[in-house]
């Protein structure tokens, strides 16, 4: 917390000075700060409210059954479906991953979910296919998803003690 406050203050002072001296790159940094902060504020708090509701209402057994130790191939399916509907990328996927972990999802599937949420976002995919072609998009999916599953399982074996959570 302390580090963040110091860095933020230094940053604000730098932006103010840039603004006074008309130092362009500093002004751009101020703009990009506001833009990025705003884009997060538009998504992240709502995501956390949904996560709160999820933690209160969804039964642990439900998550355990579909994403827990006993889940088989279907677990990958659910992890990827969940990922493709996650808006906001990693900033939402990480807290959701932590919530899933608390509800008993196994590490390998949480890691699949995290990576898949970067790769399989639905609205983005439509955009990609329309600008770069369907073939481009299909190749990306066909190559990245199997690799994500294999490497996530491997990482889960390698670091079994890992828990996705707010530290």
């Amino acid at each position: 917390m302390k580090r963040t406050i110091i860095i933020s203050l230094a940053f604000i002072v730098f932006i103010l000075i840039s603004w006074l001296l008309e130092f362009n790159i500093g002004i751009d940094m101020g703009k990009s700060f506001l833009e990025f902060a705003l884009s997060l504020i538009k998504i992240v708090p709502f995501a956390f409210i949904l996560i709160g509701l999820f933690e209160v209402w969804v039964k642990k057994e439900t998550v355990e059954k579909h994403l827990g130790e006993g889940s088989r191939i279907k677990g990958y399916f659910w992890a990827i479906v969940l990922a493709s509907t996650t808006v906001g990328g990693l900033f939402v996927a990480l807290p959701v991953g932590a919530a899933l972990t608390r509800k008993g999802a196994r590490l390998g599937l949480v890691l699949v979910y995290l990576s898949a949420s970067a790769v399989c976002r639905l609205p983005m995919t439509l955009f990609e296919a329309s600008f770069l072609g369907v073939k481009f998009t299909i190749i990306r999916y066909l190559v990245s998803i199997p690799l994500i599953i294999i490497t996530s399982e491997f990482m889960a074996k390698l670091m079994p003690e890992l828990k996705v959570r707010e530290n």
Binding site: I43, F46, I49, I51, V87, L90, L132
Partner: protein
């Protein structure tokens, strides 16, 4: 985006009608988790604000269009790992570059690492996974982006085996 707001609102109302207590508990949990991760988010936003203006899209477009395919792919993947860009900017940019003759494999390396590898988002990821697992996860993602790019190159006939 609007779907997210409607979804949140509808869920909150339904939850409230079923149980006030549980809804308050849910909001408490939401706030607790949000508050805990807020410093990491703040730190990341400052880092992003400093780095992003240093690599504007025009610069990225110029760099991606300049090199031979292998070098271009590696540089593209590198820039994608550092930069952050919403899809509605990155994909049209990719489309323009492809129409100018930049190989698909270069664009693929760029957009895939843009999505999968987050050097700037590391402060937040570290908070959830710990430093070592976050580094491993990003390195593996980088490798996957390179593999995707190479196979894209093969599929589009840019690389002949």
């Amino acid at each position: 985006m609007v779907i997210l707001y409607i979804l949140t609102f509808v869920c909150l109302i339904i939850s409230w009608m079923i149980s006030k207590n549980k809804t308050i508990r849910a909001l408490n949990i939401a706030w607790k988790r949000f508050y805990k991760i807020l410093p990491a988010f703040g730190f990341m936003v400052v880092v992003v604000a400093i780095v992003l203006p240093l690599i504007p899209p025009e610069y990225i477009a110029r760099t991606l269009g300049q090199n031979n395919r292998w070098l271009g792919m590696i540089i593209g993947t590198g820039i994608g790992s550092i930069s952050m860009m919403p899809g509605f900017i990155a994909f049209p940019l990719g489309g323009v570059l492809v129409s100018k003759g930049v190989p698909y494999m270069v664009i693929s390396g760029f957009t895939t690492s843009l999505m999968m590898v987050g050097i700037l988002t590391f402060p937040v990821e570290k908070q959830y996974l710990g430093t070592k697992p976050a580094i491993i996860r990003n390195s593996v993602s980088l490798l996957i982006a390179l593999i995707v790019a190479v196979i894209t190159g093969i599929a589009f006939g840019e690389l002949i085996l």
